[in-house]
C-alpha cells in the first residue's frame, strides 16, 4: 500500500516539523551531527604518529598557543587532537550501552506490562530493586569484577541503567493496553503477539527513542566516571580516560587547565546535545508539554 507509506511519510514529516520548531532540539541535533562527523573522520585525518607517545617530539605540558591549539598533555601529544579523537570511543560506548540498556528495558517493560500477573509482578519487583540501588555503585562493582575493557564498561552501564526504561515502558504498555483499541484487537481475535507487535510496540517505540537519548547521556557520563575511578579501558582514548590521565598526571596542581577543560566540555556538549534532543522528542510525542 503506497498510500500507507505516503501517510507514514506525512506523519514523519509532521513529527519532524514539530521537532524543528524547537530550537534547542535542533541545536542539539546539529551538535550531535558534528560529534558523529568528528568521531568518524578524525581517526582518518589524524596521522599515525600524531598520537603516538613514542613518536611525538613536542614538549610535555605546553600551554595553548605555541603551535598547539589546546596545548599538549603530559607526553607532548596535542590535546586538541586527543579530544577530537576521543569522541569516537565516548560516543560508541554511550550509544552501545544505551542501545543495550534500552533493549533490555523495553523487553522487560513490555513483558511485565503485557503479561501482568505474578510474572509481571516479579519482573517489576526486580526492576524496582535495580531502580532503587545506586546504579553507579553497581556499575563500579561490576566493572571491578569483570575483566578490564570497553566491553565491560558497556555491559556494566547497560546492566545498571535499564530499570528506568523498563518502568517507563511498562507504564506506557499498561496505558496502551488499557486503551479500547487493544480491547478491540483482542475481541477481533488477536493474540499476545498481535497485540504487542501491532499495538503496544509501535506505541512504546517513540518513548523508547526518547529514553535512548537520555540513557546515552547517562552512559557517557557514567563512562567518564568509571574511567576516572580507574575502571576504564586505558588502552583506548576516550574523554573519560583523558580526564583519568589528567588526574593521574597531576593536571590540577600543574594548573594545566587546557588538559582538564576540553574533555570535560566535550562530555558536557555531547551529553547536553543528547538531552536536548531527547527533550525535544519528548515534546513531539507528548504535545501536552508544548507551550
Amino acid at each position: 500500500m503506497s498510500v500507507v507509506w505516503d501517510r507514514r511519510r506525512t506523519a514523519w514529516a509532521a513529527g519532524w516539523r514539530a521537532f524543528a520548531a524547537q530550537r534547542s532540539g535542533v541545536a542539539g541535533l546539529a551538535l550531535l551531527g558534528l560529534a558523529v562527523l568528528v568521531a568518524v573522520l578524525m581517526p582518518l585525518l589524524t596521522g599515525a604518529d600524531a598520537l603516538n607517545v613514542a613518536r611525538v617530539v613536542a614538549p610535555a605540558w605546553e600551554p595553548p598557543g605555541s603551535g598547539h591549539l589546546l596545548g599538549t598533555d603530559h607526553t607532548g601529544r596535542s590535546v586538541a587532537l586527543l579530544v577530537l579523537n576521543g569522541t569516537a570511543v565516548s560516543l560508541l560506548v554511550g550509544l552501545t550501552a544505551a542501545g543495550l540498556s534500552v533493549a533490555i528495558g523495553t523487553l522487560i517493560g513490555v513483558t511485565a506490562g503485557h503479561f501482568g500477573g505474578w510474572w509481571g509482578a516479579l519482573l517489576m519487583r526486580v526492576t524496582d530493586f535495580f531502580l532503587v540501588i545506586p546504579a553507579l555503585v553497581l556499575a563500579i562493582a561490576l566493572s571491578s569484577v569483570l575483566p578490564r575493557g570497553m566491553g565491560t564498561i558497556i555491559l556494566a552501564i547497560a546492566l545498571t541503567s535499564w530499570p528506568s526504561t523498563a518502568r517507563v515502558v511498562r507504564a506506557q504498555t499498561l496505558a496502551v493496553e488499557a486503551r479500547p483499541f487493544v480491547e478491540r484487537a483482542r475481541a477481533l481475535g488477536g493474540g499476545h503477539l498481535h497485540v504487542t507487535g501491532k499495538h503496544v510496540l509501535p506505541a512504546v517505540l517513540p518513548l523508547v527513542l526518547v529514553n535512548t537519548t537520555l540513557t546515552v547521556a547517562y552512559a557517557i557520563v557514567a563512562e567518564s566516571t568509571l574511567a576516572f575511578l580507574g575502571l576504564g579501558d586505558p588502552t583506548r582514548l576516550s574523554w573519560g580516560s583523558m580526564l583519568h590521565q589528567a588526574q593521574l598526571q597531576g593536571a590540577v596542581s600543574k594548573e594545566a587547565w587546557w588538559f582538564l577543560l576540553p574533555p570535560g566540555l566535550g562530555i558536557i556538549a555531547v551529553v547536553l546535545a543528547f538531552t536536548l534532543v531527547g527533550r525535544a522528542l519528548e515534546t513531539v510525542i507528548n504535545p501536552r508539554l508544548r507551550g
Binding site: R125, V137, L138, L243, Q247, L272
Partner: protein
Amino acid sequence: MRIAGKLGGAVVSLSMVVVLGFFLFRVIPGDPVVSWTRGRPTTPEMQAALRAEWGLDKPLPQQFLDYLGKLLRGDMGTSFTYSRPVLDVISERVGPTLLLVGTSTLIAVLLGLWLGIRGAWRRDSRFDRVSTGVALTLWSTPTFWLGMLLMMATGDLFPSRGMRDTDTAPGFFSQAVDVAHHLVLPSVTLIAVVYAQYQMVMRSSLLEELHASYLTTARAKGLRDDLVRRRHAVPNALLPVLTLVFLHLGLVVAGAITTETVFTWPGLGLLFYEALTGPDYALLQGLMVVTAGAVVVMNVFADLLYRVLDPRVRAA
C-alpha cells in the same frame, strides 16, 4: 495491608541486596590473598592461614551460609585492609557522608524545587529558559570534573581536602567554622550536579498540574496568582516529586563517591574508592549492602511519608 506489602517488598529487596553483594564479589576471578601478600615477604603457610581466616578455603555455598549467618548477627566480616570488623570501619565513616550528603541534598532539593516552581509558573519566560539551560548543562557535567575544576578555580579560598584541619583550635565554634569551610567545595559540587534533576522533576510535575481544572476553580474564587500557586498547584505537584527525591537518592550516593574521592572527604564514598583499589572484597560487600540497603529503607520511608501526606493514597 498495603503497608505490610510494602514492607515485605522492602525485605525482599534487602535480601536481594545481600545476595547480590555476596555473589558479585565472589565471582571475581581472583585470589585476595595473592593480591594481598604481593610485595611482602610471606610464606605459603601464612597465605593458607590468611585464606582460612577469611573463610576463602571453604566451598562457595558454605561461604555464603557463613556470610548470611554472620550478617544476621550484625557481622559483615573483617575488612581485608583494616583487619577490623567491616561494620566498625563503615560506621566511623557514616557521619561525614551524612553531613555532606544531607546538607547537599537539602540545599539541592530546596534550590531545585524553588527554581522548578518558578520556571513552570512562568513557563518560557527568560527565567525559565535560563534556569533550565543552566540546570541541563550542570546535569550533563561529570561530578569529578566539576570538582577538579572548582578546586583549580578557587585557588587558595577553600581547603582542597578533608573535613577539618588538624590544628584548628578546639572548641565547638572554631571547629564548626572549620568544617563548614571544608564543606563548601564538596557540597557546592554535589549540589550543582544533583539539583538539576529536582528542578526538572518539579518543573514538569507543576506543568502537568497547570492544566488541572481545580486551578481554574481557585482562580474563579478570586485567589491571587501566588495563592493559587502556593495553596493549590504546588501541594499537588509536590507529592510525586517527593517520591522522586527519594528515588534519586541513589544518584546522590553515586555523586558522593566521586565528590568524596576528589576532595578526600572522609566518608563512605572515599571508603568505597579505597576498597576498590584494594580490592577489599569484604569492605566492598559491606559498603554495597549498607548503601543499597539504606537507599531501599529510605524509599520505604518515602513511601510511608507519601501515605501520610497524600490523602488519596492514604485511603487506597
